[in-house]
């Protein structure tokens, strides 16, 4: 018995890939907040537009940890445009689905990737993602209804 989660979620939760920090990361993004109980921090190393390394730290539930882990797997070795194309749905699907109340975790994972890339772009080009809003209360409201 593994709670309400798929075997894939439980695998990524119990054996998360790419946990940790990258002290000399090229980009760092943090999303979520303590109010909703999920905080994800993502670190990337980028070389020639390729994400050569990625690590995460997450405070949150099983789904939050599993989606973080899966997101890192999905963008590792990809170029930045491919990583930016990652959707929360793709993360959830790669995990064989999430319970409906946990879909917001996959949204956070997508946001964490974008936040890290945004940070990298600002550091390297002086300009972030067009229209990128760092995760804040507005996302909290969006995913939680209030």
């Amino acid at each position: 018995m593994t709670g309400p989660y798929s075997a894939k979620v439980m695998d990524h939760f119990m054996n998360p890939r790419n946990v940790g920090e990258i002290p000399d990361a090229d980009g760092v993004g943090q999303v979520g907040n303590p109010v909703c109980g999920d905080i994800m921090k993502m670190y990337i190393k980028v070389k020639d537009k390729i994400i050569t390394d990625v690590k995460f730290q997450t405070f949150g539930c099983g789904a939050a940890i599993a989606t973080s882990s899966m997101a890192t797997e999905l963008i590792k070795g990809k170029n930045i445009d491919e990583a930016l194309a990652l959707t929360n749905k793709a993360v959830a699907e790669a995990l064989d689905g999430l319970p409906p109340v946990k879909m917001h975790c996959s949204v956070l994972a997508e946001e964490a990737v974008r936040a890290a890339i945004n940070d990298y772009l600002i550091k390297t080009t002086g300009q972030g993602l067009p229209g990128f809003k760092p995760h804040d209360e507005s996302l909290h409201k969006e995913v939680h209804g209030n």
Partner: protein, 397 residues
């Protein structure tokens, strides 16, 4: 993992005691008559109902005629609140309750608010206690009901119910219309002594599945002379107070569980207290950055509730479950709701601490070996999760 899974979630629900199940046995297929029927099939189940009513009444020092069987604790709480509110509209519309009540009380209050009631939700102190003076101070000439739980289901704090009853009584002395006092005793009945007269309450809710009885049955104690409207409308069952064909096996089981609890409760407390303290102290001393939630002394004998800093409850629960340990958490993430437990917020915990709560509730089957197992297995789980957490200072370089 030990051979057997370890259940430490007795506050969520309890297994039906084997003796209770045996008592219920004949009432499914053999003695199955409708207690409202005149014939022998009905008369034999009516007799069983009335016996159960005596058993439940005896557990709380009530008269059998003051027990109205319901489908559980929620219905009993709703019945008390709506029943008083609707039957006493001509006297007033004000209800006083506390911020740590079960949702069965708080959400019902929200419903009543929409229907014209005025609701005062009193705060609690850091250990979850309601102040009797605050209750007395909140009384207005339009107050018809005060509803304060006997003990909290999450943090185990036992409220000063008798003192609140006294405070109400002296404040409204001489007033013409009554202020009724309801207490939700779902977590106490059958676990610590509950006597409606000592507590000074007019209404009291119990749920059988919290005391080794079956799910889907409970009762509301209604002091003689209380003006209470029915919640379920229909047939004349329960002396016209609660319509619907009675859940005979459930009620028989509730009666049997009440009788067993009455004779065995003291013994169980005596067994559980040292185990509870061992677990509580073990967690607090072996793991850094852990805080106890709830009152250290005015506390249910089976409840341990701690917050583990820097990590979140569900992730601990899942790990524990894989280790064969069943516990609970006040984190929003476990419940499908999105805010952490209103109880933990009410005692003033910051969100991230509230999200990191763990509740262990002990019971009949709990052994010292199980407690030892938890104390052995939990610390590494916490370390592992903290190592993943962006909030954990130990993890920062």
């Amino acid at each position: 993992m030990p051979d057997e899974r370890i259940y430490l979630d007795y506050a969520a629900t309890t297994p039906v005691d084997g003796r209770v199940r045996a008592a219920m046995g004949p009432y499914h297929s053999e003695k199955f008559g409708n207690p409202s029927s005149l014939h022998s099939f009905g008369q034999e189940t009516r007799a069983a109902l009335e016996k159960a009513r005596e058993q439940v009444a005896a557990l709380i020092g009530a008269l059998p005629g003051e027990i109205v069987f319901t489908s559980g604790g929620t219905e009993a709480d709703n019945f008390a609140l709506e029943g008083i509110a609707f039957a006493n509209e001509n006297k007033g519309n004000h209800i006083i309750t506390s911020a740590v009540e079960h949702h069965a009380v708080l959400h019902c209050c929200e419903f009543l608010k929409k229907r014209g009631c005025e609701i005062t939700v009193l705060p609690v102190d850091g250990s979850g206690l309601v102040s009797p003076e605050a209750v007395a101070g909140a009384l207005t000439p339009r107050t018809v009901l005060v509803s304060i739980m006997h003990a909290n289901n999450e943090i185990g704090t036992i409220e000063p119910v008798a003192e609140i009853a006294e405070a109400i009584k002296s404040r409204v002395a001489g007033r013409e219309s009554r202020v009724y006092f309801h207490t939700d005793a779902v977590q106490t009945a059958g676990h610590i002594p509950v006597n409606v007269n000592d507590l000074g309450v007019d209404l009291l809710a119990i749920s059988a599945h919290k005391l080794y009885g079956p799910k889907g049955v409970g009762c509301l104690y209604v002091r003689k002379g209380t003006r209470l409207a029915p919640l379920l409308h229909g047939g004349a069952q329960e002396n016209n107070r609660r319509a619907s064909t009675e859940n005979v096996p459930g009620i028989v089981g509730f009666g049997a569980a009440a009788e067993l609890a009455r004779s065995e409760m003291a013994e169980e407390s005596k067994k559980l207290l040292p185990l509870r303290d061992k677990l509580m102290n073990g967690l607090l001393t072996r793991i850094p950055d852990v805080r106890l939630n709830g009152h250290p002394a005015r506390r249910l004998p089976n409840n341990v509730n701690v917050s583990v800093k820097y990590i979140e409850g569900e992730s601990m629960l899942l790990n524990l479950d894989l280790l064969g340990i069943a516990a609970s958490s006040g984190s929003a993430c476990t419940s499908g709701s999105l805010d952490p437990s209103h109880v933990l917020m009410a005692i003033g915990l910051p969100h991230e601490i509230a999200h990191g709560s763990l509740r262990f509730t002990l019971g009949q089957q709990t052994t010292e070996a199980e407690i030892d197992y938890v104390l052995e297995k939990l610390p590494p789980v916490i370390e592992k999760l903290r190592a993943m957490s962006p909030l954990y200072p130990g993890g920062k370089k």
